[in-house]
Structure formats: structure tokens, C-alpha cells
Symmetry: C2
Subunit: 204 residues, 2 copies
């Protein structure tokens, strides 16, 4: 695909670097921007660059933040003694949108996965251990991927904080709402039977 | 979806304005950029803004251009006496990628469509007529959409240049290569029979 202008070509190349965007889609986006007002497009470019330049990470939970401490960690209405351990920022957004969790988070930045070359040192485990030792943490809720890597990570952290006096839980695995029993995989169905709940609790 | 930072939120909002990109995809793109180098993202923003600010349109054919005359119009190797009339820049890119056309283009910026409120005055028809009267144009090739609006546009332009001494053609409509006859629509099949070609010409 030969483009009639090097400016256009550069812009298309920039968009085509983004995940899931090929050269044709990139061209469509750039031609769309070309129809917009100059100031609008200027603002687009500046907003993206400013976001990357000025964004900070909370020094306590490693969440994205406008300042050095994020809005969740600085919110006194939230239970600062409960920490939900997640892999990445997207998990925080997903859990926050349920409006069912009133504690704080700790973002590991991944899970232990030797095959991908990710060891405990690349993650924020050390800072989590410090948090648990220094703050009076009551509960640690693991919300990690239900696979070998996730389980390894939980096991590793559990070992590290063996002396700490806090409750360790993990989010429930089971049949999804609206899911049909016959299509559920064996592992999930087996776990949901082992971890069955009294009905009144389920209704609540 | 509540985001933990206003910088992030602004960047997501900017991406979500683009066609075919929703809020979830926008977040995915922004989180991807967040993992890139600061200078890389700065370059991304600047490239897009610069493209919109500095890009020009060829004063002769209205194609995108780095200067006041595009590379096609200023190319003396191309036949400047043949003009292919197209709707938009994407059509130019499509025809150029076939490498079968050696003339120049004229981009109308749309086609006459009263239902969408697009009349001849919104298009670059006046400048096309001037071109035909001033330059010694030998052939005008219409490559417009094969519908009522396209036909209306051809008819309108033909009327306008009735006195000009140039050949007027349109690109061939017919069964696409690899297309099965039984699945072709009647209109296309009918046209391809009416406009049948001698076999030697087809082979060439």
C-alpha cells in the first residue's frame, strides 16, 4: 500500500504499532482524524503524550495514579486493612466496577511464570510483604488467574508471610451466573461442588 | 467503568472517539502505550498532530500531499492528459496499488447525493471542469461507485463538459476474478454479458 504523503505514512505507521490495529485500520483512523479540526487532533496527540509523561504509580499499591498515592489508598472510607492482590490494573478496574469490594489493592504486575522468565523479583511481592509487616493487615484476598502460575504465586507469597497474623482468602471459583452445568468444565464443576455453600448464604 | 486516574480517563476518551473503537478497546490501547517508552509515546502524539497540521491537499487534483502539488501530478513520467475521477483518497490508494494506471487523478470529495445533502457545489466539480478546459485532457476515466449517485455524478459532469473534446470512459463492471457465476447478482451478470469482450483482449 503506497501512500501519497510521508506525513500520512508516518501517522499510519504509528497507529499500526498498536495491538490489534493493522495497516488498513490505521489508515481508516488517520483519514478520520484528517477530517477533524486541527485543534481537536492537536489535543488528541497532546493528551496521549501527557498521559504517558505525567502518569504516576501509587507507591503503596502500584495502581495507576495522578499523584504519589492513588485515590483508593487515600480514601479513608475504605477498609485499609484488607488487601486484594491482583495481577494488573485491568483487574482492579473489573473488581471496582462490581462495587462489592471496599478494601485496597496490591498490583503485582504479573504472576510468577518461570516459562516466561518472570520470577518473584520482577513482581512487587517484596513491597507487599513490607506492607503486611508494617501495616496491620487483617485480610489478604487473592484474585489471581486460576492456573498453575496463579497458584504458585499464592503459595510463594503465603510462605513469605507465614509469620504474619492475617487471614488469607481467595475469590470463589464456580459456575458462572447464567452458565449451564452441562457446558461447565470438570475442574470448575468439581471445585464448585467441593466448595458448596449453605443456601441462605447463597441467597444473600 | 471507573478509571483510577483522570489522565488515563482523558486518554481513553480520546481513543474512544475514533471510529470502531469502544471504551474497552481504547483502554487496551492506552494500557499498551503506558508500557512503552515515554519518548516513543511522545513521538506517537507528535506524529499524529503534525500530520493533521502540516498535511496539504494538491491544488490540482485535491489528493493528500506534502506540498502544494502532489507526487502524482508533479510526476512527468505519468500521462498528465488522462484523469481518473474518484470519490476519495482511499480510491486513489486502491487504484495505485494495482499499478495499472499511469494517468492522474481528480478527487471529488464525495458524489452527488441529494438525500445526504451533498450537491455539486460541495464537490470539486468546478475545479475538474476548469482542468478539462485549460489542460489538454485526452481521457476522463470515471471510477465512481456503481449506484444511482455515481451515475448521477457522471451524468452531471458529462453535461458540464459537453463542449470539451475528450474521451469519457468508466472502469469495467463485471464478474470479479474468482467469483462464481451462480452467486453473482443479476445486474452485474447482465452488464458483464452486455459488455462482453473478445477473448484475446481478455487474455491480455
Amino acid at each position: 500500500m503506497q501512500l501519497p504523503s510521508s506525513l500520512l505514512e508516518n501517522a499510519v505507521a504509528q497507529f499500526a504499532k498498536l495491538p490489534g490495529i493493522g495497516k488498513k485500520t490505521a489508515l481508516r483512523l488517520v483519514l478520520h482524524l484528517l477530517k477533524q479540526d486541527v485543534n481537536e487532533v492537536q489535543l488528541f496527540g497532546e493528551t496521549i503524550a501527557k498521559m504517558r509523561r505525567d502518569i504516576q504509580f501509587c507507591k503503596r499499591c502500584h495502581n495507576i495514579s495522578d499523584g504519589s498515592v492513588c485515590t483508593i489508598c487515600s480514601n479513608t472510607m475504605r477498609n485499609q486493612q484488607v488487601i486484594c492482590v491482583v495481577e494488573n490494573i485491568r483487574d482492579v478496574i473489573a473488581i471496582e466496577s462490581t462495587q462489592q469490594f471496599n478494601g485496597t489493592y496490591h498490583i503485582l504486575g504479573g504472576i510468577i511464570s518461570p516459562l516466561d522468565g518472570i520470577g518473584p523479583d520482577q513482581l512487587t511481592i517484596e513491597s507487599l510483604v513490607t506492607r503486611i509487616n508494617v501495616e496491620k493487615v487483617e485480610e489478604l484476598v487473592f484474585a489471581l488467574s486460576p492456573n498453575i502460575q496463579g497458584d504458585t504465586t499464592i503459595y510463594y507469597i503465603q510462605k513469605k508471610i507465614a509469620n504474619a497474623n492475617c487471614r488469607i482468602t481467595t475469590i470463589a471459583r464456580g459456575i458462572a451466573f447464567g452458565g449451564e452445568l452441562e457446558y461447565a468444565d470438570e475442574m470448575t464443576l468439581a471445585r464448585s461442588i467441593v466448595n458448596r455453600l449453605p443456601v441462605q448464604q447463597y441467597v444473600k
